[in-house]
Structures are given as structure tokens and as C-alpha cells.
Amino acid sequence: MALADHMPTSRVARARQMHVGLGVALVVVGMFSLTVGATDVALGPALLKLVQGEALTRIEAIVLWDIRAPRLVLGLLVGAALAVGGAVMQGLFRNPLADPGLVGVSAGAGLGAITAIVLAGFAPLWLATTMGDQLVPVAAFLGGWTSTMVLYQVSTRRGRTSVATMLLAGIALGALAGALSGILVYISDDRQLRDLTFWGLGSLGGASWTKTIAAGPIILVAVIAACALGRGLNGLALGEATAAHIGLNVQRVKNVAILTVAAATGAAVAVSGGIGFIGIVVPHLLRLGTGPDHRPLLINAALLGALLLVLADVIARVIIAPAELPIGIVTAVLGAPVFLWILLRQRGMVDL
């Protein structure tokens, strides 16, 4: 009994310790990702050169500063956004299978991206010239945001958002977006079709400072805001009515949850395409390890999500170098068996 009494506190303490552990691991993995790549440019020698006041070669500078650095930053942000988005959705819907897709972000972003890829040729000239290469990410973000807002409006009556309506309307909206995407797929040529397929598998391959600066602040603000939702989501776990009785502003928690997830995931999907599995696996791994308290969970999810995505990206770009694997393949191929293994090992001990 004594053990059981101590369990919750010790798990929370462990979760708090984990912030530090994951933080340190993140720094190590970050360094690793700056060092490893198809070229033999490495971080150590380059830093040594800088310290000694020597100039880097052009290739060193480009590989480190223009290729690996934006990729690392974008990887950290996207990983954190996907994992926190997953954790918040699972808390909001009180469903372990929930992911950001439930609020329509993925379907909307996918539709936006497909529209941009297929119909780019028909876009008015001013749009094509002002947007240039950024057309697909911008369209994906707008698509994700719009579809979330539509869902939010549909499921909110008299200032109260019904999570159940949102879930069902989300399925309908997803089907509609899928059908529209299907029409666009039909009229696309085989090159666009390949672009669509690759977009769906995700990649950090096109990372640039422009993208990082455009998406970074949105993701950062949204993730930090979402991390503050811990107490609210803990309250919601008791049920909406009870949460309201213990003095929680339920509607505000819902609003913040939906908006931050839409912004963070929308921006993440826009710059990296569809990267699956991080949003589901990371929160579960953490819950199995350190319990369901959302306060430390959300922060750990951000750290672990960032860590795993950067690691997956390193694998994606070195495993078949000089070519590159879509990162979605890596996250699924590595994530799925590990997740299954942990589930099977813990079965009977842990009730999800």
C-alpha cells in the first residue's frame, strides 16, 4: 500500500527529472545531426576552425549553415508541434487514439497542398510571382487553418463547443476533403502525382531559413501556449461537468487547445508534409513511462517529439545517401514496431 501511495508523486518527480534528461539528449542529438550527413563536413573541425579564426570553406559554410542548421531547427519545431498536438488532442477528446487529424488540420492541409501542386499552373500570375516556391506550404497552412475553423464553428453553439460533434463533423469534413483531393488527383499528371505522394510521406528536405522563419514563430508560440494547458487537460480528464465544477473554464481550455493545435500542426505540416506516428507514439510512450499528468507530459512530449523527429531525419538522410528517404517512412518503420513492443511488454500492467 505504501508503494501505491507513493506511486503518483514518484512518477511526477520522474517526469520532472525527465525534462532535464530529454533536454540533454536533445542537445546531443542536435549536435549529432549537425555533424552527420552525406558530405564529410563535420561540426567539430568547423568549430575548431572558427575558434582559431580561420574561414570556413564555401562548402562547409553552405552545408552547415544553409542545409543542416535550418533542417535541425525545423525538425525540432515540427517534432515538438506534432507530439504536443497529439498529446493535447488525446487530452481534449479523452481518447488515446486522437491525433491532430481530428480537428481537420491534416485533411485541410492536405487539400491545400494538393490544390497548390495541381493547380499551380492556373494560378494568377501575381500570385505565382509573389509566392514562388512557397505556394504549397502557404496553401497547406491556410487549408489546415480554414478547415479547423469551419469545424470549430460547426460544433460550437451558444459559446459551447461540443467535442462529440467536432469528432463526427471532422469525419464528414475529412471525407469531403478526401473527395476534393481525389478530383484533383484525377486531373493531375504523373509528375504532379509523384509530388503528391512524396508530399504525403513528408520530408524536411526542402528546409531553408525562409521556411524556418515563416513557420518557426507560429509553431513556437503555439507549442508554448499548449504546454500551459496541463492543468486544464487534467481537469477535463474528470469529465467536462466535473471540470467545470472544480472551477475550470472548460470552454477556454477547449478554445486554446483547438487553436494552438491548428496553428502548430498546420504550420508543421505545411513545411514538412505529412509525417505520421509522432503525434500518437510520443505521448503514449511518455504516459507509459511517467504517467498521465498533463503538466509534465506536455513539456516532455515537446522534447521527445523534437528528439525523435531530428533522429528520424538524420536516418532519413544518411541511410540511402546520396539519396534521401521520405521521413514519414522512417518514423513509421521505426516507430510502429517499437510502439507495439512496448505495448505488448506492458500489457496487463497498464490500462490505457
Binding site: 552525406a38 542545409i67 516556391d133 484525377y186 509530388d195 528536405g205 526542402g206 545517401a321 534521401e324
Partner: protein
Amino acid sequence: MDRRSFLTISLALGVTPAQLWSASSAKDVIAIGGDVTEIVYALGQGHRLVARDATSTFPPAAQELPDVGYMRRLSAEGVLSFAPELIVSAEGAGPPEVIDILRAASVEFAEVPEGYDTDAIVRKIETVGAALDVRDRAEALAAETRSELDTALGRAARSEDKKMRVMFILSTQGGRILASGTGTGANGIIEMAGGVNAVSSFEGYKPLSDEAASAAAPDVILMMDRSGDHASTDAELFGLPALSVTPAAATRNVVRMDGLFLLGFGPRTAKAVTALNRALYPT
């Protein structure tokens, strides 16, 4: 080496200094696109290649080179790891951010325009030749290719009413026929080889409804010769209800040819035209 000894050596070798310079500045080149790689080899510049993309499978020597992946999804660092000075690429290499980075890393980038007729092939050869700085060879190869193509086209030409109706099928995955309409390489090669595309109601590769496939009434089915999930045997092919009623099914007339050979539109296209023409009109 100093200037005098340099001059002596170059004179002894019977070349002008300029030639020696251009020879010594032999660049490391990456070829992107099956047709581009073929042209590089046909120009005798294969030794300058340090890498190629996934579609560059001919000549066999090209397959020995490292593969930088699918041309629309190049990895900036993967490409830079070969420290190339020049990338000769088919139209549409990407993603654009990667191309920007490569340009910033002072990698030259030459894009070879796409096209499905004799003029397009000649233009490709000239563009690759100019990028590799072997214009003379390119002129010669272009002239040779043009005359071969003219001969092949002349032999293949026939009057409108005697043309075979050809349906190019990309795949029959799950019983659905993915056929070529107009504006594709398949359409181009069918016309060059003296056939007529049985499917002219749409552009590009699209799934064909069963009734439309029957109504197209092809005399010949043309497919790429490959294994894997796209492969289908004659029995499977003509077992499809849509095709079973076509003239092609009655005569079991299927032609299978290597994809790059058939649709590459490079130096081997004259041979492809002749080969397809012979396959369409065996007598």
C-alpha cells in the same frame, strides 16, 4: 609548372594551350534524367560523371555510378557530397529550395528541355553538349541522330488508313487500365513508329473506363517491359473484360519494350522507332 614548360609540353603534345586548359578543367558532372545520362555517354563524356539519378539506367556503366535518388526530391547535401561543378538535368529537377542551395554553392545547373519529336531530341543533345562544352561533338551527334531519325521515320511512315491503332498501357493494377492519352512520350513514339494512338480523348496518363477501353478498339497493346506489380501476363491482360473484345485480343497482339529505350527520346530513339515499327508491322 611555369609558363614556358607548359608551352613546351602542350606544343609537344600537338595541342594548343586553350585545348589543354579546357581538357584539364574537366568538370565533375552529375546527370539527372535517363535521357540526359544517355546523351552524356553518347557524347563520350561518361567519364566526367560522378553520380546520376534513379532513372538513369542506360548504358550499363551508368548503373555503376552512385544514385542520388528521384530527380524531384534531390537531397542538397547528397548532391554536394560529390562536389560537382555542373549538374545537367532533365526538366523539373527539385525541390526548388535545394536547387537554390546548389546554385549558392556555385554548382552550375543546366536544364535540358523536354519534348517528344526529332527537333526536341536534337535540342536535348545540343543543350547537353553546350553544358559540357563539347559543342563540336554535340553537333556531330545531333546531325547523326537527326539523319537516323529521318531514315527511321521515313521507313515507318504509312498512309493514314493502314495505321495500326495502338493503346499504350502503363499498368493494369487491380484490373484498372492506366492508359496514355495525348501529349506523352508514349503518344510521341507511337506516332513516330507509324501507328496511331487509340486513346486521344484526354491528355497524359489516366485510368480508362472499361467501356472507353473497348470503344478505343486498339489493334495492338503496347506496354513497358518490366517486372514487379506492374507486370501483367498476356492471359491476365486479355482476361480483362474491357480488352477481351478488342481487335488486339483477337490476335493476342501485345508489344513489350524497355521503358527508357521506348520513352527516353534520346540517341536511341531512331532504333526504338524502327523496333516498334517492326513490332507493329511484322511482315
